[in-house]
Symmetry: C2
């Protein structure tokens, strides 16, 4: 059962265990002929190094953990996929960890696997900046769609993207929009709202914020109702799931999209292209983001921890215009009351 060990190989090849070990991990340190003989014998015996034994002394596990804020969200699948493939190419194993939208669970989970992984990919972390900075000081970390000073990160470019959304809506004649915000401790939610508000101010569009909402389809109902109440003719939802939920509710209420109201999402998940009307959304190369994050992490694992600046990447986003956005209705609707 427990497969051959380095000892078996050493005996069969007539060398010391240290030689076998080095043949695998430190090729330059052993003679070429010896090395090939060892490898040959190892192959014959079906030897496979025991990763735990290796990790024990070397502290290298060839494993990285990817923590996602909510494994339910299809947005992450692209990310996971990209990360998994890149990790595999580097002979690393990816461990998937779900934070269930809870900072507390996120902490606990990270702590749990901390000893068994070489580093962390934190996607849309819900933890406060300070905690992330602290973690990053101890262990290699790359943030995804989150920015914290001095911590490496990959964030899909979105301030320009948000500008494009607002410009797109403004050019269609919309003068008032509402942003349906994501979770309170989502960095993205704050960041997007800031960008939207700035762009709106610049382009002479009124922008309101509503929320926070959990970024799920089922939250879309309440979000849609709030949006309608706001009187805005354009809705920007925190993500595609929420946007799809909004579309559903609007259809229920016989509000026509895009005739009566326009809807925009974020992420460009697979389903965005399939719903009716197809969703205009700010997409990004999410699989590339996953890849890039792994690459940065691997770099920081390999390289000296010389204090060079933490790498920050911002792959471009792109506004995918589909059918959920259109010209603003002629009679600009006014806010219909609301408790303010």
């Amino acid at each position: 059962m427990p497969g051959p060990t380095i000892y078996d190989v050493a005996r069969a090849a007539g060398v010391a265990t240290s030689t076998v070990s080095r043949a695998f991990t430190n090729p330059g340190r052993v003679g070429e002929t010896t090395r090939s003989r060892v490898l040959e014998v190892a192959r014959e015996l079906g030897y496979e190094p025991n990763p735990h034994a290796r990790a024990l002394t070397s502290n290298r596990t060839q494993t990285i953990a990817m923590v996602v804020s909510d494994i339910t969200n299809p947005h992450f699948f692209e990310l996971i996929r990209g990360a998994e493939m890149r990790a595999k190419a580097a002979e690393y194993t990816l461990v998937l960890v779900n934070a269930e939208e809870s900072p507390r669970i996120e902490r606990a989970q990270i702590r749990r696997v901390a000893r068994s992984v070489d580093g962390f990919l934190l996607a849309a972390s819900r933890q406060p900046d300070a905690d992330l900075a602290e973690l990053a000081a101890t262990r290699p970390v790359v943030l995804i769609n989150r920015q914290v000073r001095d911590v490496p990160s990959v964030v899909v470019e979105h301030s320009e993207g948000c500008r494009q959304i607002v410009a797109h809506l403004a050019s269609l004649g919309h003068t008032s929009l509402v942003y349906l915000a994501g979770p309170r401790n989502s960095w993205m939610a704050g960041s997007r709202w800031a960008a939207i508000r700035a762009a709106a101010a610049e382009l002479g569009v009124t922008a309101h914020r509503s929320g926070p909402y959990t970024p799920t389809v089922s939250s879309g109902g309440a979000a849609a109702d709030a949006a309608i109440g706001s009187g805005a003719s354009a809705i920007i939802a925190h993500n595609d799931l929420l946007a799809i939920g909004v579309l559903r509710r609007l259809a229920q209420r016989s509000v026509r999209v895009p005739d009566d109201v326009s809807v925009v999402g974020f992420d460009d998940i697979f389903a965005a292209d399939l719903c009716t009307p197809a969703l205009t959304t700010l997409g990004g190369p999410h699989d590339r983001v996953g890849r890039a994050a792994v690459e940065i992490l691997l770099d920081s694992l390999t390289a000296r921890p010389d204090r060079r600046p933490a790498p920050q990447m911002a792959p471009p986003s792109q506004l995918v215009i589909r059918e959920s956005t259109g010209p603003a209705p002629q009679a600009a609707r006014q806010p219909q009351g609301g408790a303010g």
Copy 2:
């Protein structure tokens, strides 16, 4: 950096390392007062057991691997999610492994992580029966949506489901259907076809098979064209992705669904409800499947390997009827030639 070890705890608590070890892993073996003192000290020191050191002797890693045939396929996300959550509840970590639809890669990946996990969940494995049986003889394995004699498995019930599909179509007046088959070495593809054919024979419906096709949206084009060529009035696609691809192609060719032709998929992925027309599909409780698979695996890890029969579970599927199926067109279409 490398955190406190049991030696530190032992010293601080004034006991031997073995006592510390037992306090954690074998509570009954140590006095209650000693135990609580040790745990107290450990907590103060922030001690966290090193999983690798533990795995080295105990051969328990608290980790299970989930191998999916293609991580790109949204169908698996439900499965992954269910498995991840169940694993977490048992304090197990889930490792995600992608087989990229290749039996060879699947083998290699399994081999790679074999030493670092306690067992395997194999979802839609593409390996031959013999290989799976062999693997299962060596290591704890639970198959998902695949059946091999004497190997534990969880398979969404589908023969009755296939019957329901055919009955549904027959009751709508369809007399000829075509099954767009999945990959050649997909067990599900074979199994579904058998069930469909049997049901068709029984209900007096003509059934043809076309394919194999990769189960992706982009394969849907060719599949749709072949289906049209077959002259059947109803199309059963191997999964929802393929079905969605088919819908797209049909729309391009101005074939109306369901007026001219009906389309059915499998899996009931999130997007099935969003596409136009919404897809009729055979769904299943996939998250439950993931959960159940983990549970069976955990059982087989804990229990004595007494030769009791390998557990087989078949959670029920359900035919979700949406808009892509409807009455057969009046004038039954005839096969339009085709090269045999």
